[in-house]
Every structure is written in C-alpha cells, then in structure tokens.
C-alpha cells in the first residue's frame, strides 16, 4: 500500500484539444506531486489557458486522461466523472485564481461574503463561524480586518487579487490553478503578492499549477517548468535548470527575450 505522498496528485496523459482544425494543445503529459508547484510558460496563443481549462474540467479535451487523487485517497478521472462530483471536487479540493480578479470575485457582495461563499456552499450554516473564518483568511492575505464588510470594488487591484486568493484557500484546497496571478499588477505589488503566495504554498503544502508568460514569476514560485509552444511541450525540467540552461531553441529565445533594467 502506497501512502498518498508516493502517488501523484494529478496525472495527465496524452491531453489533446483540437478547436476544429486549430490545435489548442497536443499530447501533453505530466505528473504533479503533492506540494509541488508547476509552472507553464509560453507566449500568447501557445495553449497555456487551454491546458488549464482542460485540467480543471471546464473544457472537455478531444483526447486524454486527467486523474486526480482526492482527499480520501481514491483516484478519480476528472474528465469522465459526473458534473455533480466534479463540482464537488472543484469546490473543496481545488482553487482557481483568475488573472482578472473580477472573474473570480463577486463584485457586488462584501469581502466577508466572498470568502465565506465556499464554506456556505459546502454546508457551513453558522454565521459567526463563517465570519470568523473570513476574518482569519483576510488576515492571512494581509487585508485589514476592518475591510471585511467593504465591497471588493473599493479595493485596489492587488487587494482584489489577494481577496481572490483568500476566497479560494478558505476550504483548504490541495490544488490551485493560477492563470497569470500577477498579470495586470504593478511590479512592487507583484513582488508582495509573489512573496505571499510563496509563503502560503509552503505553509499549507499546496500544489499549484501556475500559467504565466512572466519568467520571473516562475523563477520565484515554481519548482518545475513546462515550456509550451503551439500547443506542444518543447521542454520541461526543474525551473532553475530550464531557465539557466535552456536546451530548446524556443526556450533559449524566451529566456533571452527578458529585459533587464
């Protein structure tokens, strides 16, 4: 009997998506281990977001298998399970951080309700406890507790992004999908957010898949890297190894394109 630490959290085999003649992604396979942060890099249109949508079951790929190890130690087939079961897994074991916080937040309800929503969706029915959990998580993401009853639209971009993270982490998911988590933020806010994400990932033992075009983000945050080009993985390996010693011409181009002030 293997323990959970010896089994991959997410196993992906032969994942292919064809947008009717245009390729989304082709034959992608990897294992994600508990506590590991995987970066997916590539230029715009290389299939990063398609891959993320397929993995989280929001888009049904043309071919391939995505297997997820749930909390109770069973392996489920994400693409073939029922919608009910998939949404249950998505609510409890997964998180999804969108690039634009407006996609991931309810802008017309308070920060507290935003954080509490997942708890209520899985059955929390005690207002005081929900509110206490919301306050605790606002603290984790460095939002002052007196903002709990404010609407997210009164928050700055960086705060909205942190609120989105709190909203996702409140049910203690084990796998978080992040789509350009620092896109659209200015650099000093980016640095703080990365710092926060790094400490949360380490503290909670989260696994994460981070899609980005920003190589600096992957350097700071991710352990392993997949380089995507036209829907195919052209290079993969440890982040530092890929960035310091890129083998594939496209990766070399990508790394050398980064500007240094």
């Amino acid at each position: 009997m293997m323990s959970d630490a010896d089994r991959p959290l997410l196993g992906v085999r032969g994942l292919t998506h064809d947008y009717g003649g245009r390729l989304g992604c082709l034959d992608i396979g990897f294992d994600l281990w508990p506590g590991e942060v995987l970066g997916v890099v590539g230029e715009s249109g290389s299939g990063k977001t398609t891959l993320l949508s397929c993995l989280s079951g929001r888009l049904v790929p043309t071919a391939g298998v995505v297997e997820f190890l749930t909390r109770d130690g069973t392996v489920v087939d994400v693409l073939r399970m029922s919608e009910t079961a998939r949404r249950r897994v998505a609510r409890t074991d997964w998180g999804m951080v969108h690039q634009n916080p407006r996609d991931g937040l309810r802008m017309n309800v308070t920060a507290g309700a935003n954080v509490g929503e997942r708890l209520m969706a899985v059955g929390a029915r005690h207002y005081g406890q929900i509110r206490a959990a919301a306050l605790e998580w606002l603290g984790h993401v460095e939002i002052a507790s007196d903002r709990v009853d404010d609407l997210p639209r009164t928050f700055s971009g960086g705060m909205q992004q942190r609120l989105q993270i709190a909203r996702n982490l409140v049910t203690r998911p084990r796998l978080v999908f992040m789509d350009e988590p620092t896109g659209g933020l200015d650099v000093s806010v980016q640095a703080r957010l990365l710092d926060l994400l790094r400490s949360l990932v380490a503290e909670l033992g989260l696994s994460a898949i981070v899609v980005t075009h920003d190589l600096a983000v992957t350097r700071l945050l991710t352990h392993r890297l997949l380089v995507l080009r036209r829907g195919e993985v052209v290079e993969s390996g440890l982040t530092d190894q890929v960035l310091d010693d890129p083998q594939h011409p496209y990766t070399q181009l990508l790394v050398s394109s980064v500007l240094h002030p």
Binding site: G116, M120, D149
Partner: protein, 281 residues
C-alpha cells in the same frame, strides 16, 4: 354556460396542465414548465393560479378565492365570479367549507385539512432569479443543488442589517432538496407550508411554471444556526376581533397619524366577531 367549456379552458389544455401538476407533485419543489395559455385577465392578476384552478376544479368542488387575505377585493371577487360563471360550482368565503382555495399573498389562518387544495398565484417562480439572470444556469444550479449564492445573500443581509431582510417570499427548501419561492406570502405563513396536510400547488402564468408541495412534505425556511428563522409579531391584538398570533394589517384611519391593526384574513376575523368559533392556527 354553453358558450364556454367547463372552467373556461379546453380539455386538452387542462390535461396538459394536469400532467405538469402530477410531475410537480412527484418532485416536490421542482419547477415544471408548462404551456401557459392566454387567460381573460392580465398577467400579474393570477393567470397561473387560474389555470391550475381550472385544471383541478370539478363540479362538486366548493371554491374560495383570497387576495391578500381578503375575500372582497377586486381580484378575489372577479376570479370567484369567473369560476362561478364558467363552472357553476358553489363558492364560499369560509376556509373550512372550501375544497379548493385559490390565493394570492396569504395562507388562511384557519388550519387546512387533508381534503383541501390550496392554489397559490406566483409572479416569479425562480428563487435564484435576482442572483443569477440566466435561466440555463439557474436550472443547472437546481440540478446540482448548488445554492451557495442564496446563502451568500442571507450572509449579506445579516452583515448589512443584522437579520435576513426578506419579509415575504422568504426562500425555503422543500423536502431537503429543491430551493423554492413560496410566492409572495409573508414569512409569517412559511411555517404553515411545513408538513401541510393540504396539497399546495403553485402556478406562474407569465413564467410558465408549475410547482407543488405535496401533503406532509417538510418545508424549511433558510436560516443560520446562530440567526434562526423567526416570524413577525405584533405588540397588540386585532382591533376588531382581538385575535393574537395572527397576521395583522396596518390600516390608516385618519390623517392625524391614527392607525389600527386588524386581521388580514377577513373570513377568520369576521367569524370570530360573529362568535362562530373560528380556530386559530
């Protein structure tokens, strides 16, 4: 009477509506779509309720029609006359005599019994409508029992005003499964839905939906453990009949701030004053 079919609707339409009602009874709280017909009254005046009543009424039924608790308001009078003319059934204002009661905004104070059917008029059947505008999405939410959005609303209400703001049309869960709008009855009437011995039918004509609470089905008003569901109370009894623990309407009696509180259920109040021993629910 020869100008109209019995109860105005043609037999095929009634059969279609009865099929929808049977399905609604089989799945308590589920909104069954049906082919709503044009009725000789405008939308918002009870076209859904009228169609349900027309489909279940028989020659031996005794009909009562309520509007906001009263039997003598325009809406109640015209619907009662409509069925009296098109069916010839006996009508009544007494809750305990009626076998079929069509109502808007109230459930009678006199407890209903197992041989009665209550038909409620529904303006908007979808409890998630103001939270999610897409019909396709709300249907999916019902199918997957995803009611987190409604709980977010209750949370917001408590955060803003310290209590759930809904005073009428207070959301309920039927048989531990479907979220349901009880139609715009005051939340005072919500406990009467729970395990009611009478069959409760809900008809929405414009929205083309029928749903039902079969007899003895559990109906729970949504609440938080630390903010339990409560109903309205009044500091004074009915000014006419002296009843307490019933739903009272506020009536302005002059232009100097004078007001009185009286029973909203006119039949209940009238019979108490006549010493007819109407029981309190």
């Amino acid at each position: 009477m020869s100008e109209y079919n019995f109860a105005f609707l043609d037999e095929q339409s009634k059969r279609m509506i009865r099929r929808a009602i049977l399905k609604a009874v089989a799945i308590p709280g589920y909104q069954v779509p049906f082919g709503s017909r044009e009725m000789p009254l405008s939308y918002g005046w009870g076209t859904g309720g009228v169609q349900v009543t027309a489909s279940v009424i028989g020659p031996t039924d005794v009909l009562k029609v309520i509007d906001q608790g009263a039997d003598d308001t325009t809406n109640a009078v015209s619907i009662r006359q409509f069925f009296a003319r098109t069916t010839g059934v006996r009508t009544t204002e007494r809750t305990d005599e009626a076998t079929l009661i069509q109502t808007r905004h109230r459930i009678p104070e006199t407890p209903l019994s197992a041989d009665q059917i209550l038909v409620l008029q529904v303006p908007i059947p979808e409890p998630l409508r103001w939270l999610e505008p897409r019909e396709t999405e709300t249907r999916l939410m019902h199918a997957l029992e995803e009611y987190g959005a409604m709980w977010v609303r209750l949370y917001e209400d408590i955060t803003r005003s310290g209590h759930v703001e809904a005073a009428y049309d207070y959301p309920v869960v039927v048989n531990d499964r479907y979220l349901m709008r009880p139609s715009p009855i005051p939340k005072f009437d919500n406990p009467k839905l729970d395990r009611s011995p009478a069959l409760l039918l809900f008809g929405a004509g414009r929205e083309k939906r029928i749903y039902a609470v079969p007899p003895h089905t559990p109906v729970k008003s949504l609440d938080f453990d630390d903010y339990p569901f409560t109903v309205e109370t009044w500091g004074e009894p009915c000014a006419l009949c002296g009843a307490t623990g019933v739903f009272l309407d506020e009536i302005v009696v002059d232009d100097k701030g004078g007001r009185m509180f009286v029973c909203s259920d006119t039949d209940f109040c009238g019979r108490r004053r006549a010493g007819d021993g109407a029981r309190r629910s």
